[in-house]
């Protein structure tokens, strides 16, 4: 129909590459924009120390959002992560109570507990056929209740040296943040190049078709919720290492917060499209924004409002894009 310099096939491939990485491109440009704005408005912002600081502060958010991304890729969502983080923070601090003797079994037990609770969410989605929104919302309420039964206020403490999990460094870089990047890269590779990764996209793209042609839909759904629960537990252990003790509402904000980087990073809430690298940069973007707002003396309450607005904006942005492509 049209005569263009490029053969249509190459053009199509280019367009497709741009489309499939649209989220990544958008979030990267926003990141750069934010850095520029920050550098202009504040001298202290553009120091290496501050950038490293933002990198470090993004870790908790990035960890929990990694699990959330997989749930969203299948067309689901995990709204239990906030309460799950609170529960595991309290249990870890309470069980250790300043004593490092049983540190390894306690941490292993906590990770297993996170994955097991996630698995229960998955079972609810698959076998009770309840929408993930409801299953995980309900599970979140249950977990928050359990947490409050266990501890109404600050509880326990971590042994000496435990804070190295949060504050350790590789040379000039915060170790936890570096490990988080490695986890993201590994997950991205598995999503792209393992059969199971492919099935996660397929289930999110058309779950019914996946079932009809004999893909392991059940296993995929069980896995992503267990994965999300596991990473909520990882997040909790990281946070308790930072805080030094348990707080029954310490994870409360992470439910909403974990979704922001996912949608900002271009993963569609309808499932089947997106990826974890966009989420990682989304987490950086959110942390950077909070950092910038701190420099501008904006209160954390207003920061929360910003987060809510960003989610709505990000989703509307991508919805618009989809219409114009279709």
């Amino acid at each position: 129909m049209t005569d263009m310099a490029l053969p249509s096939r190459d053009r199509a491939r280019l367009r497709r590459m741009a489309a499939s990485n649209a989220g990544l491109l958008v979030v990267l440009s926003l990141l750069v924009l934010m850095l520029l704005i920050g550098a202009v408005v504040s001298d202290r912002f553009r120091t290496f120390g501050n950038v490293a600081n933002v990198f470090e502060q993004s870790t908790g958010l990035a960890l929990v959002s990694l699990g959330q991304t997989l749930a969203v890729l299948t067309g689901g969502i995990d709204l239990a992560v906030g309460s799950l983080i609170s529960l595991i923070i309290c249990l870890t601090a309470g069980l250790l109570d300043g004593d490092g003797t049983y540190m390894i079994p306690v941490l292993a037990g906590m990770l297993a507990l996170g994955a097991a609770i996630g698995l229960v969410n998955g079972l609810g989605v698959v076998y009770l056929r309840i929408h993930p929104l409801i299953v995980t919302l309900g599970m979140g309420a249950v977990l928050q209740g359990v947490t409050l039964l266990y501890a109404l206020g600050p509880v326990g403490s971590v042994p000496d040296g435990f804070d190295a999990l949060a504050y350790g460094t590789f040379g000039p870089l915060p170790a936890a943040a570096v490990v988080t990047v490695l986890l993201y890269v590994a997950t991205a590779l598995l999503l792209r190049s393992s059969r199971f990764g492919r099935y996660i996209y397929a289930v999110g793209d058309d779950g019914n078709a996946a079932k009809l042609i004999g893909l392991p839909r059940t296993q995929v759904i069980l896995f992503v919720y267990a994965f999300s629960g596991f990473f909520a537990a990882v997040t909790a252990i990281y946070l308790v290492a930072r805080f030094g003790s348990g707080q029954p509402y310490a994870g409360a904000n992470y439910t909403l917060a974990s979704i922001t980087p996912v949608v900002v990073g271009g993963t569609m809430l309808s499932g089947g499209r997106g990826g974890v690298m966009g989420t990682l940069f989304g987490a950086y973007l959110v942390s950077l924004l909070n950092n910038l707002l701190n420099f501008l003396d904006v209160s954390t309450y207003v920061q929360l409002m910003f987060q809510g607005l960003i989610i709505i904006l990000a989703v509307s942005l991508y919805v618009e894009k989809r219409k114009s492509i279709a």
Partner: protein, 496 residues
């Protein structure tokens, strides 16, 4: 290869299959014929492990089997190409072809290069020019069908079931498909072929089994029967009894709705038609020809990219469903579950749903009045149900359809559009629906009936409008209407 004994399948309110016994041998192409709603799709789904049979036994490759999920059937070597695609729109053609059978490297990771190369090879063997990197949602419907077919060729299949694979492809692609099917047959694959195109059955199939109303009517060697015998087995009665007697032609009935140059980007290109009072206009064309989209644009569901709708002299260049309803236009959609009915509500609520102002006083519903209206509708449309308070979910497809028509008949003063009004309903309900359409037309309503079933178009229409590739390819007046003329207009580029 496959043997079914006394298979029955009951859904709430519907006996979809009753005592079907059937065997399919390796190295044969076995046609499955029957009208819409005869149970072909249900049978396919039982074989594929989607539905567990309510009664009966199944054996495959000599072993008794009872699938618990499609996964079991797939693992055993059964592959189904369903009528509605099971493709992943945001994966590439190559990824779709190899989904579940990924090409992997020595480390067990997906080998993207090999996937692409092997997919290109298969597509070439199929004789189609599809870019293996193209996302499936960018492909035409015909190309999507070819990707579905390619997917069936990449792994060891013992039984291949194809449900209407040629509904959206044509000419050369159909030939290439059958070339592959004959090759598979020579390799000993058992093939079940479902099609409404009888000529394909006679040209390519070895045996044909006929289903009717969920029962197995007969299995014959294709060589032993002729077309008329097959049709009478499928229909179970003479065609002429199905349709109400033709009415005398009305002289110059007034045009109540005129669509002019309607365009829906990518779907409909400048299509126009006019609807006359008391006249049934059939709208025919292949699946994907833009029939449904044209209707949806007239009713305001799809935005018009150009053109106008003229109703009683007033011209509208944009339409919304609310405006269409206010103008006295009704639309019975193709998919009554998705768009037409509140499945959990009862008959009464569904009948009065769009005319609530007639059954309410000061904002409160007058349930007694609603029941009275529903009872009248149940009588005049002969809806088989327990009463106005039965939830429609528990009724058969035919009776659900009557409820939808009853509702729209209450609001449609000028035009009623029916998209595939008899899809998935049994013969008895079909006749009822035809009678209702006839009655509504006699009362002066202009009816536009979209249908894929040619006998229905021919049997019911006073005029037939045929679409091809988004445009009107011809209009047949009463004396010119026959199946051959419609097929010519629907398929050939240079039709007279």
């Amino acid at each position: 290869m496959l043997s079914l004994t006394d298979i029955s399948k009951t859904f709430p309110g519907v006996k979809a299959l009753q005592g079907v016994s059937l065997d399919v041998q390796s190295g044969e192409i076995h046609a499955l014929a029957g009208e819409n709603g005869a149970g072909k799709s249900t049978l396919t789904r039982v074989i594929a492990g989607v539905h567990a049979p309510t009664e009966g036994t199944m054996s495959f490759a000599g072993q008794p089997v009872a699938w618990t999920s499609p996964r079991d059937a797939t693992a055993a070597g059964i592959h189904v190409i369903y009528q509605e695609f099971n493709l992943f729109p945001h994966l590439s053609a190559a990824e779709n072809i190899y989904i579940g059978h990924e090409r992997r490297n020595a480390l067990g990771f997906v080998d993207h290069r090999r996937t692409r190369r092997d997919a290109a090879e298969i597509l070439k063997r199929l004789g189609v020019a599809i870019d293996p990197d193209a996302l499936v949602n960018e492909l035409s419907v015909a190309d999507q069908q070819m990707v579905e077919i390619a997917r069936a060729l990449v792994h060891d299949v013992k039984l291949l079931i194809l449900d209407e694979p040629t509904a959206v492809i044509s000419g050369r692609e159909v030939d290439l498909l059958f070339e592959r099917l004959h090759a598979l047959k020579r390799d000993g694959v058992a093939i079940v072929y479902i099609s409404h195109r009888l000529e394909e059955i006679f040209a390519h199939c070895d045996r044909v089994s006929v289903l009717k109303d969920g029962r197995h009517v007969a299995t014959r060697n294709v060589a032993d029967i002729d077309r008329d015998t097959l049709v009478s087995l499928m229909v179970g009665r003479d065609m002429h009894e199905l349709f109400p007697p033709r009415r005398p032609a009305r002289a110059a009935a007034p045009v109540v709705l005129e669509a002019k140059g309607i365009t829906v980007p990518g779907r409909v290109r400048g299509a126009g038609l006019d609807l006359r009072a008391g006249t049934i206009t059939g709208l025919s064309g292949m699946v994907g020809s833009g029939r449904t989209e044209l209707a949806l644009a007239i009713f305001g569901v799809l935005p018009m990219g150009g053109g106008s709708v003229v109703v009683d002299g007033t011209s509208f260049t944009s339409m919304t469903p609310a405006r269409a309803i206010a103008l006295g236009i009704g639309l019975v959609t193709e998919d009554r579950k998705a768009q037409g009915l509140a499945m959990l509500l009862d008959v009464a609520a569904n009948v009065t749903a769009s005319t609530l102002d007639q059954v309410s006083r000061r904002g409160f519903l007058d349930r007694r009045r609603e029941t009275a209206i529903a009872e009248a509708a149940i009588q005049s449309y002969r809806v088989a149900c327990r009463g106005p308070s039965q939830p429609v979910a528990l009724m058969s497809g035919g009776n659900q359809q009557k409820v939808v028509v009853a509702r729209w008949a209450r609001t449609s003063r000028r035009v009623l559009i029916l998209d595939e009004p008899t899809r998935g309903v049994d013969v008895g309900a079909k006749m009822e629906i035809y009678r209702i359409m006839q009655t509504l037309a006699d009362e002066g309503l202009a009816i536009l009936m979209i249908s894929s079933e040619l006998p229905e178009i021919v049997g019911m229409s006073d005029r037939v409008v045929v679409m091809r590739e988004g445009a009107i390819s011809g209009v047949l007046e009463r004396d010119e209407i026959d199946e051959a003329a419609i097929v010519t207009l629907a398929t050939h580029r240079d039709a007279a």
